[in-house]
């Protein structure tokens, strides 16, 4: 398989994640879509790593996974605090700082 197929698959996964990020109401679903987008970026990193025949792209994927783990932990803690303070998981209810 050539690079273009993997890039198009990565693009499709990213766009599905981005659409979900926009249309989902539940804050945990929004985080799941965020993970999907990070994963799509990882796929294109690995595809380029294979294409250029070197391992440096895989190191970047490793670091992205670390950042995703830290982000998920902090984000879910914020979710729990939000639920404790507002008793809601709807992103539309947490718009105090939006306007």
């Amino acid at each position: 398989m050539d690079l273009l197929h993997y890039l198009i698959l990565s693009l499709l996964l990213f766009i599905v994640g981005a659409v979900g990020f926009v249309i989902k109401k539940n804050i945990v679903s929004v985080f799941l879509c965020l993970e999907l987008m990070l994963n799509a970026a990882n796929l294109s990193f690995i595809a380029f790593s294979r294409h250029l025949n070197q391992v440096h792209g895989q190191i970047f994927v490793f670091f992205i996974m670390v950042v995703a783990a830290a982000e998920a932990a902090v984000g879910l803690a914020i979710t729990i605090v939000l639920y404790r303070n507002r008793s809601t998981l709807n992103v539309d209810d947490a718009d105090t700082m939006k306007w």
Binding site: M1, D2, L4, H5, Y6, I8, L9, L12, L13, I15, V16, G17, A18, V19, G20, V22, I23, K25, N26, V28, S29, F31, L32, C33, E35, L36, N39, L43, I46, S49, R50, H51, L52, N53, Q54, V55, H56, Q58, I59, V61, F62, M65, V66, V67, A68, A69, A70, E71, A72, A73, V74, L76, A77, T79, I80, V81, Y83, S87, L89, D92
Partner: protein, 168 residues
């Protein structure tokens, strides 16, 4: 030939699982769809000769991070079991339209890109990301960033404890 078939099978599974993740109403089904998608992408990593990253994807992503998500969903779900009602239906259609528009814009762009870059390293073994190879690069060339990620994890742990602790 085999590789092409495997690419289409696992790519199709990943894409369908991703679409199912967005389409599901309940968060727990979304999370399980995402786990399926991550496992299919790990299979694609194996096809791309990155076995170490594939293993890390299964263990860290589909294992640790998704278990964290499932814990939080279980923690919060009894209270949020009623599906959040969509007050503004048009947002969903607008989002799907946005996605189709982005695809229509980006796929011609990708097709016009000529990946004519010759492989920089013709040695066939150098592109295979075994644990040894990745580790060698990680602990020599990328040692400082690697050590800094440990600080990042520490900051994340402290942040989580401070955030989630109940104030007396």
């Amino acid at each position: 030939m085999m590789e092409t078939a495997l690419f289409y099978i696992f790519g199709g599974i990943a894409l369908l699982a991703a679409i199912s993740m967005v389409a599901q109403k309940k968060v727990i089904y979304s999370a399980i769809s995402l786990i399926i998608c991550l496992c299919a992408v790990a299979a694609l990593y194996l096809l791309l000769e990155a076995p170490f990253i594939a293993a890390v994807q299964i263990i860290v992503y589909a294992g640790a991070i998704m278990v964290l998500f499932l814990f939080v969903i279980m923690l919060l779900d009894p209270f949020s079991a009623s599906i959040l009602r969509d007050k503004r239906k048009f947002i969903a259609y607008a989002g799907v339209m946005l996605g189709i528009l982005a695809l229509a814009l980006l796929i011609p762009f990708l097709r016009s890109y000529k990946p004519s870059l010759a492989p920089r390293n013709p040695d066939i073994l150098s592109g295979v990301g075994t644990a040894g190879r990745v580790g060698q690069l990680l602990f020599n060339e990328y040692l400082l960033p690697f050590e800094m990620t440990s600080v990042l994890i520490l900051v994340a742990i402290i942040g989580v404890v401070v955030l989630a602790k109940r104030r007396p």
